[in-house]
Symmetry: D2
Subunit: 409 residues, 4 copies
């Protein structure tokens, strides 16, 4: 423990409290500091100009919420909480995003990388984070990795970091709302924390807390439709992905780039080392794109220019996939001299990994259970009309993205 | 005018309203979009992790406040307001920061550049901004330049953008408070706007609005001491400045950099062109520093590593300049193998351009006048004890900055 | 119009703006001032101690929201808005609650009074309000009455004051949330106002505003379950109603009260005059109850003591009406020496007049329509899963209320 | 201790936490419940319509802040804090306002009562509060009385409840700001609490917390001038005081009131008993005034009507006392048929008991000391220019109050 508690001023939680030296040392590692240069919401800042916050801020927030939940469990002396796992939880909470690369959504789909795998490598390989964790005990880095990768035997520990009620989502809902300015529908974090109960290896919710969970899931629902799936954000992500695909294509076909900084080649070939991974951040990508606006390859130069200067693709909504309209648009794109592989995209937001709530188990995420005073558990959507209505529903409409100047008919 | 008003969701003002096509077009220029890649508070994010907002957000905010002030003047039909200057004011408000480079405070002192000069060049030379403004009228870009450079003949127009009560400060106080999380002492913007009056070529304050101005100046005072002068922020700025000085020194002495992207040389030699200026943003600087962490020059590599990974200089407070302690520290620095030119700094925050309030005229900024119903003007510090107490006071203490591991005795 | 706009500082809307002399004069009538002595949320302050705000504050808020909606319509020049009805709307908004008596919910059910009827009488009879309105035109008081009583021929005017999207609810959701402290799930009023459109005699919602309406209805839903139907509030209302019933019973049976202020008898007999109605407020009732704690009639004295000193009835939840448990409780109540007519109550919150949303027309309240750019209208629950799920659902469970010391088995 | 912590939803502190059965029982006493019927800010609701909150809410808030301060002391294990005094402090915090009568400021000056004396009597005599406290120990009520009356030997205990940095002020600044809507200049309570230190029998402030104290005192300063000394509030208080003076005059001269409820006579004669004191609340006063609007005595009827229906006195500002203008106004008042004893008042707000800060000891209230790491104490205004500027300054101007229709010349 630190001699004196340290605090960070945080706009969402007011203060983040650090009591353990390990946590303090982890925050000061190069790997954690790198997250300051990766935005939490990717390209959303082109839709909501305030959304410029980083994964570093969010990581502190997830840590702080986890700390508060555990503190609630300990203060109340709940016997189902394994008190010896406190530090493990806190470390996993802080480090859960450490493998995220720049503009992850777009880059992962173009280059076939995976941030969860990277997170594990950062914990396991020769990194500062690994060094700090190893001081706790030789197997501590491994344990943190298991928690983050959901293979740790005590499910309750995993579920604080990754479940339908995890600290990760609890923080990002509030933080993204705060920075985008869409912060009306936020929920009462303090109350949410108070109704959580450790129960036979899981975190469940006191029955009287049902409305608190409803409010929380409603916030999530609102954020999905107002922020995460916003078609302008999707447009900028599509351009970015197309741009990365072009870079990969050019690289694999021996194109001579004027500017091609280390370790970009290794990234494309998926043979990067963890030391080099440190160099990869959104500054690296944005500066490269800026230099590429002068490349001879017109597609690359144009896509970079579009992204950096917010000349985004237009979009049209299709209630149902309309093949005729897509064909028509493809013709227009070709006639205007664009390569449709890079300048046309059909998108359906529900492809995204975000989901509001599922009543059944998915990806190892168990549903939310209410726990009544007679000790019975009931899955929440059985009790709440509101939650049942949003549970597992595939919402969203198809959008067609294309350069300005085309007409959607 | 736009057919339909457009809005941006803004976390500080809730919404930014755009009614003029010129404003809309200016926002979409490459020069304005570049401000998304320059942080409003430079290196403050190392002290307050939430301070990651950009000059782009701030510029929209200054525009919005100016729009609200003018709208108040027009709604009330105040005859001292020159209604024909509305669009000019709005454009100047939006564009006032367009010349800011990356990490301006540090880079300007190291490379002898000047963001105000750059703003003027961006308005005058062959830029997209110049093109949009020229559509209003041939002399419109010139007029905007005059307003921003404070040479426009109608002082009231200038004073909305640059005075003790300008929209620039009104926005940054609120916005910086919001993002740092230090948002308790904020003031009532709506009330401030309501007590402003155009009066014989100046903006003055209704006498009954004195307490509103007091609250506003108190906010400023608090922000100076809690945020702008924070010694941790100063430490990161000092490292950055030293790093830029080292780059300049190496460049001028013919050092062969492994990584030296265009147009860095032109920047150091102060012969950059406005097209090239677009490339300069904080991504450019951060990525370069990241690559430089592998340079052979140890001083450069170390300073870059310190900055990017937040291994900042420690600091000690000296109530008065204490030459003996400085000499002692210099010896320690040398003994530890550091070059004191890069690893030791005496700093006094009041050197900074920020000031809370001055009762007399300075830099062409006139003081704040109260206007009573009998038509008399009185300078506000004559009436308010609080404001008198902070007016022109040189506060602050000296700090000594040095690498960790030294002792201040 | 007033020479200079007047403002009231309002904790919810920041400022309430008054531009018309009629509005100013109405606010200063005795009838409006009386609403300062009637709480907006009746007995909810016993559950949420902050809920001490009055119907006066709420009335100003409804006026302000109405003003903002109309101002949006006028600024955009929507042709379906009858601009000549502005003042009529504003007056009706301000005055819509003027007939509310003290603790309306409880007193109306005990004494068979009706606050809507009283509102009409206050507008029609010899009151200050009538006098101010008559200055506008001879038939103006009648018109205001028609708007409030929903018989005014132009439905759009009525619907601003009384519909599923009226200014009344828009204000109370925010205001009650603010004062109870349950203010997380509030909605974005500014956005709600911006998506409203006048359309062929109704107020409808721009299709792209669907999520704004969802957020608003979710707020309402949350407020119903967290605040309006709270069983502790219901308990205090039940005691109050029982107490009023006892007073009526005693009065009609010739009981000699030690304290029986004018015009209580007339109130019970429902033959009160509008001048006397001014005397009736929550001070009148609370003080009478306080004096009655010393009455000889034990039931009256006890119920008054329970109410004033918050010795509320306990309650138990029954998922379904359980006649056996009710009978059992009745026996216990009798054995403990209580009269079950006054000391036992089965309650079902959905009896209350509040409802979240109905997709069909009820009580003349039409549902909410979305309006798309092709001019088509669609009822919102057809489009929104969330809203469909809460539409018209009869939620709630039965509660049994009884004095402390009984056991529910 | 309670088996499970109980919480109250509070709009200012989000939640008030109750852990001790004694506290829970005290909250439920008749004496505490009575405070629900006494407004925190007296007649300020006539200036700020939101200011309708009660002393009950405030009392819970003072308790909660005290709880947080003590909890901070205990968590950090500061040895200068006498841990055995925790419950005593909490009780004193909760009960400190229990003797407040209705509209205390006005009634005390008219009837020569004293709420502090009443608080002591409520603790000492046969009350429910006394009964609950006695269960802790026989001398516990006496100790609570000593703390509130500032005679308890351990000054640190007293100073949490009554000093320049007491929990009383810390709560009311925030709460009054919240309800009036003047809530921009609020301070960071969490930070204030964190910089407090127990030190040799006093509460002092960590030197690095100076700016936190500045912000807090600035909030106080702002609240004084914007809220507490507002001339409209003063006008309503003056009318109320004149009204009470008239009641007293009439009573002592044998006037036969139509309405004169028990125990008003005893109150005027200052021979009331603590049981009867329970009957006295603002409902009692408001209802009596309402009945008195029909009294034959015209002065009494008129003053009651003015107060209840907000027909307040007008006011004019005099920079200095201007005897000529006062004489002139007196003549006008007389000519208009008013008795100047009741219809004319010269007022100077600094007479009020509120003060922002005093650098010396006054009324046993010691100044605020900063405590540096070398263990030295320094009075804060010696270090802070801002605080020095507001310390002990007698601000304010004279106002003259009179009925409408007079002219101030």
């Amino acid at each position: 423990m630190l001699e004196e508690e340290k605090v960070f001023k945080d706009p969402v939680h007011r203060y983040v409290h650090v009591q353990d030296e390990v946590i303090w040392d982890l925050i000061n590692t190069r790997e954690m500091q790198r997250l300051r240069r990766i935005r939490q919401l990717g390209t959303s800042f082109y839709t909501f100009h305030g959304a410029e916050h980083s994964r570093f801020s969010h990581s502190l927030g997830v840590y702080e919420i986890t700390r508060k939940i555990i503190s609630q469990f300990e203060r109340n002396g709940f016997s189902d909480w394994p008190t010896e796992e406190r530090l493990l939880c806190l470390c996993a909470a802080l480090l859960h995003d450490i493998g995220h690369g720049p503009f992850s959504h777009s880059i992962e789909s173009a280059f076939d990388t995976d941030h969860e795998e990277w997170t594990c490598r950062m914990l396991r390989e020769q990194t500062e984070v690994n060094q700090v964790l190893s001081k706790v005990s030789a197997d501590f880095p491994k344990k943190v990795e298991q928690v983050i990768c959901k293979t740790y035997p005590k499910e309750i520990v995993v579920s604080l970091i990754s479940s339908q009620l995890d600290a990760d989502r609890m923080d990002y809902i509030l933080r993204d709302a705060y920075h985008t300015g869409v912060n009306y529908g936020t929920y009462d974090l303090e109350r949410m924390i108070r109704v959580l109960r450790p129960h036979r290896g899981h975190v469940v919710v006191k029955e009287s807390g049902m409305h608190a969970v409803e409010a929380y899931l409603m916030s999530r629902y609102q954020m999905h439709w107002q922020v995460y799936f916003h078609p302008v954000t999707r447009s900028s992500e599509i351009i970015l992905r197309k741009m990365f695909e072009r870079v990969k294509y050019l690289y694999l076909n021996g194109y001579a780039f004027d500017f091609f900084p280390h370790p970009l080649g290794a990234l494309i070939e998926n043979r990067i080392e963890s030391k080099e991974y440190l160099l990869l951040d959104e500054s690296f990508m944005q500066m490269s794109m800026m230099q590429w606006t002068h490349e001879r390859d017109e597609i690359l130069a144009d896509l970079c220019d579009r992204f950096l200067h917010r000349r985004l693709f237009k979009y049209s909504t299709m209630e149902l996939l309309d093949e005729r309209k897509i064909r028509n648009m493809r013709q227009q794109v070709v006639q205007a001299g664009y390569d449709p592989q890079y300048y046309l995209e059909v998108d359906f937001p529900a492809d995204l990994s975000y989901d509001v709530y599922r009543a059944g188990e998915t990806d190892g995420k168990i549903p939310i259970y209410l726990w009544n005073d007679r000790g019975k558990l009931i899955e929440i959507s059985k009790k709440s009309d509101i939650i049942r209505s949003i549970s597992g529903v595939q919402m969203g409409t198809h959008h067609l993205y294309y350069p300005e100047g085309m007409s959607f008919i």
